[in-house]
Symmetry: C2
Subunit: 368 residues, 2 copies
């Protein structure tokens, strides 16, 4: 590789470790940042991560340029900050980055969930960050990965085509150009409303979890989540909230993929109904349910995915009764006000925009 | 028995058969009515029902005075019409009875679910029934019963104290007096708002079913409904919708029992939380879940219990977000508008009443 792009991976969870190791193995100068030093101590000592990916995938020891818990240091020599943290931490990461950002840097969220780039941009404005950075988000995480130890990562699969969008959208091409040598898999995702409204976790995770709440909690998740958990009636609920999501997108002038279209595209899994399509996805067999209801399928996906979709629906006149009932049940079960924690339009700084103003914002970056 | 009260039991499901046989065995002149003649053909031929109740309960052959599908005939010699049909059929039964009712007759709903007596009274007004009848409702069904065959019934348990209220409430004493020889178990339930708002099925049935939707449908109900189905998180949802119900009652000046109070009272089952109280109710062990989601726990309890509670809450300023989300999910899963089918205040004829007008109506019968 001759590219001189310097990467900093923010977050050393299993996804961040896989990405850092992969980048390093591809020959890029790679820094790994994690807020809690203890979590990266083993990596710091070895100055790298052991990556395994089966026979044909990337494998070997990915030597890192720097392993740090100092954000200033982490951003110092970086062109692209790859943010691989739960979306509920995006705002906090943005606040931590704000003082140290420089013109020309790229912040890329893996993934943005819904409106992640918009939230990060809002935090940077609130923090009075004056650097001309580009915030972008991926529609989904590029790897299926796991971690086998403190300085180990394993990649099962690298997705072939992951949509990505910058805020504003006219910079998407630049971002794709900068990361192409490392990740040719990323493709133009339109704009960040489109990538955010194509978030399938919003549809599958919370409703499927809640409609199996009793079973998850009494069996500690000992059943096949998608295969046993998605019955015809449960699928009907998923279909309705999926239709609400697609309708919210349509109200914003965006043609979002339905869950069925996504299953056909991503897994070649088809059927006459969402229920059939799910049962026809071989990859869902064997996947266990979460062992507890205290899981990111609720505490991340409800505030960071369902709340912004519902908020956009309410603002622009789309009935979101199904999504709303899932949010309410999640609030009750976790005794948490997920509206207050979540990505409301106020928090995103877009509460007063008309559809055309919002569109201009995500396309051109012009606010008001 | 020397009482000359003549009973007609409307509805020959397992509850109606148990009641008719029991009344007949106690020596009361008893008629059994069922709309569909085929369902009572075996009873008509034998002119009675075989009742079993274990060692100490009522048992033997209950000889009936009349077995009929003709409503005029059914009401002709009757003092008290014991209505033992699903509450979703109350309106239809009232319409069928309207032309044949006479002054002094009592219509008693077993049970009313929520606002059953109010709905029946509204139908009788709409049908221009001029007879001075008393409509009353029981808070719950007096028997735990089953049917072993076409002309057989089995009673497992007769509840010791079942609240009952007439509409208007000043007639409750009269109704209790008329039926006392047969059923000393009935006690004064206050008024029909109180009996209706003490409906515990509203709390337990729909939410518990929906929060176990996947499991019910994938196992055909092969788990213990209350024991495995009510986990701490599920119980939290039940507690919230129970609190909403109790708050709706409070807005109407009624002190309704909480589900925990009811478990303590009815089953001596106590605990620090609703979850514990349920796990401490030995009678819940062994009770299987419904085999399908197409069950009265949804199609009866949602429109006839949750909808009127939510409607009263909305009308009188009580937040019913939890109940509302359960109703919405039920609508989605059954592709049915349960608000349209349900006991809304319009359908009950009480949409324009203030709380004091509503109270006067249920206490004194004065409408407007």
């Amino acid at each position: 590789m001759t590219s001189s792009t310097r990467y900093t991976v923010i977050g050393a969870g299993n996804g961040g470790k896989a990405m850092a190791a992969h980048l390093a193995l591809m020959g890029f100068e790679t820094t790994l940042y994690n807020r809690t030093p203890e979590h990266i101590e083993a990596i710091r000592q070895r100055r790298g991560i052991e990556l395994d990916s089966g026979e044909t995938g990337p494998r070997g020891f990915g030597q890192l340029a720097l392993v740090t818990s100092d954000m200033k240091e982490a951003l110092d020599r970086c062109d692209v900050a790859m943010v691989v943290v739960p979306s509920s931490a995006h705002a906090e990461v943005a606040r931590a980055m704000a003082p140290y950002l420089r013109d020309g840097q790229i912040i890329l969220l893996h993934p943005g969930r819904t409106c992640g780039a918009i939230e990060v941009a809002k935090v940077l404005r609130d923090e009075r960050c004056r650097a001309d950075v580009t915030v972008a988000e991926a529609e989904t995480f590029i790897y299926a990965s796991r971690s086998d130890g403190p300085a180990q990562a394993r990649i099962f699969r690298i997705k072939e085509a992951v949509p990505l969008a910058a805020l504003p959208a006219y910079r998407t091409g630049d971002v794709l150009g900068v990361i192409r040598d490392a990740f040719p898999q990323y493709i133009d995702g339109g704009n960040v409303l489109r990538t955010g409204l194509n978030n399938m976790g919003a549809i599958f995770h919370p409703a499927l979890t809640l409609l199996n709440a009793g079973r998850i909690e009494s069996t500690r998740g000992d059943f096949q989540f998608y295969i046993d958990g998605v019955t015809p009636s449960v699928a009907r609920v998923l279909e309705v909230i999926d239709r609400e999501r697609v309708t919210v997108a349509a109200a914003l002038g965006i043609r979002a993929r339905t869950a069925q279209e996504w299953l056909a595209l991503a897994y070649n899994a088809t059927g006459d109904s969402l229920y059939e399509a799910i049962q026809n996805q071989p990859g869902y067999y064997g996947i266990k349910a979460p062992p507890t209801l205290n899981h990111r399928y609720i505490f991340e996906d409800v505030p960071m995915s369902l709340v912004p979709i519902a908020a956009l629906g309410q603002r622009y006149g789309v009935a979101v009764a199904g999504i709303d009932s899932i949010i309410r049940l999640a609030c009750i079960i976790h005794r948490t006000d997920y509206w207050r924690r979540g990505r409301t339009l106020d928090r995103l700084g877009i509460a007063n925009l008309s559809v055309s103003e919002l569109t201009r914002y995500v396309e051109e970056g012009t606010l008001e």
